[in-house]
């Protein structure tokens, strides 16, 4: 269409008897204008992806009526002491559980089949706490939320013990307490303010995504599972964590990894450990097949792991020059790519 418009204008110029130089000038100007518009449109389309997303901030409106709904969505067995509530649901395939509990511990483990069992134990005055549970009519989503009523002392909390289908997705929001998840293979999203996070024993999991402001993160035995951790002040420890993509970012926390970077099926991956002022410690067995790029802009890089000079292509954003604050090298075939970056912290690569 563009070429047709340009051609029509050119023919009009011919018809009105415009000179060749003028026609040429006009065609060039129209072409440049059109190309400028296309370039701007293309730039705008791509620029959006490069701009960090703005945080979504909204206000939460408490429901007009207080709700104690232990019965929605399935059978309920309120058992034992008044402070203990138990909820039962059935989740379909491709389903999810969302649990929001700002004060208290949360433990999540796999159940048998499609059953969901949620046990909530109120620590404090039960009349000052509400536990809302709701299952979507299509049976694919369960939401559980703890509400602290006005006047509830700061020591009031609710501890949850959850059993859910192994393949269901899990979302957890917890301010303080402890979040512990084991064996869940569905996509896991955990967000905490200061609560420590422990995720263990997951093989072929879909994904583990952890965001915490000041909580510690401990990931142990996550095999062939993509991992993404973002922590500002909390330390992050990874033991035997492997996946196609393992990204850990921290501002001041220490990042510590122990393992061989190789998935159980022999597949390799890309590992990025970045922080600002925290240290990065990596312990690797000598039989690991890794390619390591490490750089600390204002800190130092120490290595006692036997590495060969890197050859061939290096799949990294940068290729630092070897020196007191940078390191490049491979071991065995250099299959897993390890990218270690710290602004002013110390990076230590050690033989396990």
């Amino acid at each position: 269409m563009l070429s047709k418009i340009l051609t029509n204008h050119s023919m009009n110029d011919t018809k009105v008897g415009m000179s060749s130089a003028h026609r040429t000038r006009n065609f060039a100007i129209r072409s440049l204008t059109a190309l400028a518009g296309m370039a701007i449109a293309a730039t705008s389309a791509f620029a959006c992806d490069l701009i960090p997303a703005k945080p979504v901030v909204g206000s939460f409106q408490w429901p007009a009526t207080s709700v104690m709904t232990p019965t929605i969505g399935g059978e309920n067995a309120a058992s034992g002491a008044d402070n203990r509530k138990e909820y039962h649901f059935t989740l379909n395939a491709d389903s999810s559980l969302v649990l929001s509990n700002h004060f208290g511990n949360i433990s999540v483990k796999p159940s048998t089949g499609r059953q969901v069992v949620i046990i909530a134990v109120i620590q404090g005055n039960k009349d000052q706490v509400e536990v809302d549970s709701h299952q979507h009519p299509n049976g694919k989503r369960i939401e559980v939320e703890t509400h602290m009523l006005k006047g509830a002392p700061s020591t009031t909390r609710v501890d949850y013990e959850v059993y859910m289908p192994i393949d269901a997705a899990l979302t957890v929001e917890c301010s303080s307490g402890e979040v512990r998840v084991e064996g869940i293979k569905g996509a896991i999203n955990i967000e905490t303010e200061t609560a420590p996070v422990i995720v263990r024993n997951i093989q072929n999991g879909q994904r583990v995504h952890v965001q915490t402001v000041d909580g510690t993160v401990n990931l142990n035995g996550l095999k062939s599972t993509n991992v993404e951790v973002s922590s500002i002040g909390g330390n992050v420890e990874l033991y035997g964590v492997t996946g196609r993509n393992v990204d850990v970012m921290s501002t001041s926390g220490t990042i510590r990894y122990t393992g061989n970077f190789t998935q159980p099926d022999g597949q390799f991956g890309q590992y990025k450990f970045h922080n600002h002022t925290g240290n990065i410690d990596v312990l690797i067995p000598s039989d690991a097949s890794v390619e390591i790029n490490a750089k600390s802009r204002k800190g130092s890089v120490e290595n006692d792991f036997p590495l060969d000079p890197a050859f061939g292509h290096i799949n990294s954003l940068f290729i630092p020059k070897p020196g007191p604050n940078s390191l490049v090298g491979t071991r065995n075939h250099g299959d897993s790519k390890i990218d270690l970056r710290s602004f002013s912290g110390k990076i230590r690569v050690k033989k396990q």
Partner: protein, 216 residues
Amino acid sequence: MNCQEFEANLEQWEGRGHALAGEAVSHSEMCATCAELKTDFEAMLSAAADMPLEHEPPARMWENIEYTLRTEGVIKPYTDVEAASLPSHIFGIPRWVMAATAAIVLATGAVIFNTANQLIPASDVTANNVMSKPSAQTSTIVDTDEEDAFLAEVEEAAPAMKPMYKKNLEKVDRYIADAKEAVNADPNDPEAVASLRDAQNQRAMLMDVAATQSMR
């Protein structure tokens, strides 16, 4: 000299890098139309000259571009009328080459402009629709009014959490300041640019967690 003669002079002289002289200069000073024509030609020549060409592209590259443009219908074979009335070359350069060169110049400018705009200051990260001021280009922490407002909201909603958020916000601001300093030192350093993006993402994450938890 009339306008026709002026146009002929323009193509013969300026198209070959020579400045106009004599009657042609006088005519351009008197005739607004021809003066505008002269200005436009000189602007196009200047834009083409500013293109950084380190190597002369091989002829087959232009042939491939021409083939692609013709296949996609961007350029058409001329009809007899057009062929007779319009020159196939401008200043000795094929017209389609001029168009392709203009596209490359614009695309390069767009990439450079886009790269510069990746250095989004902390002022673009918002919380509760509050914009923060740009951070200083040193390693000192900037305590903006907007960050004070954010912390005031946290204190109102969850007083016990304010010291934690204040401490971590300071850490992230230091991260952003250090990353900006690195980018300012070398804007072409991809590592520095990536660090600035990481730092800004950390700040956005902090605000996001506060919004979904303490400030609910």
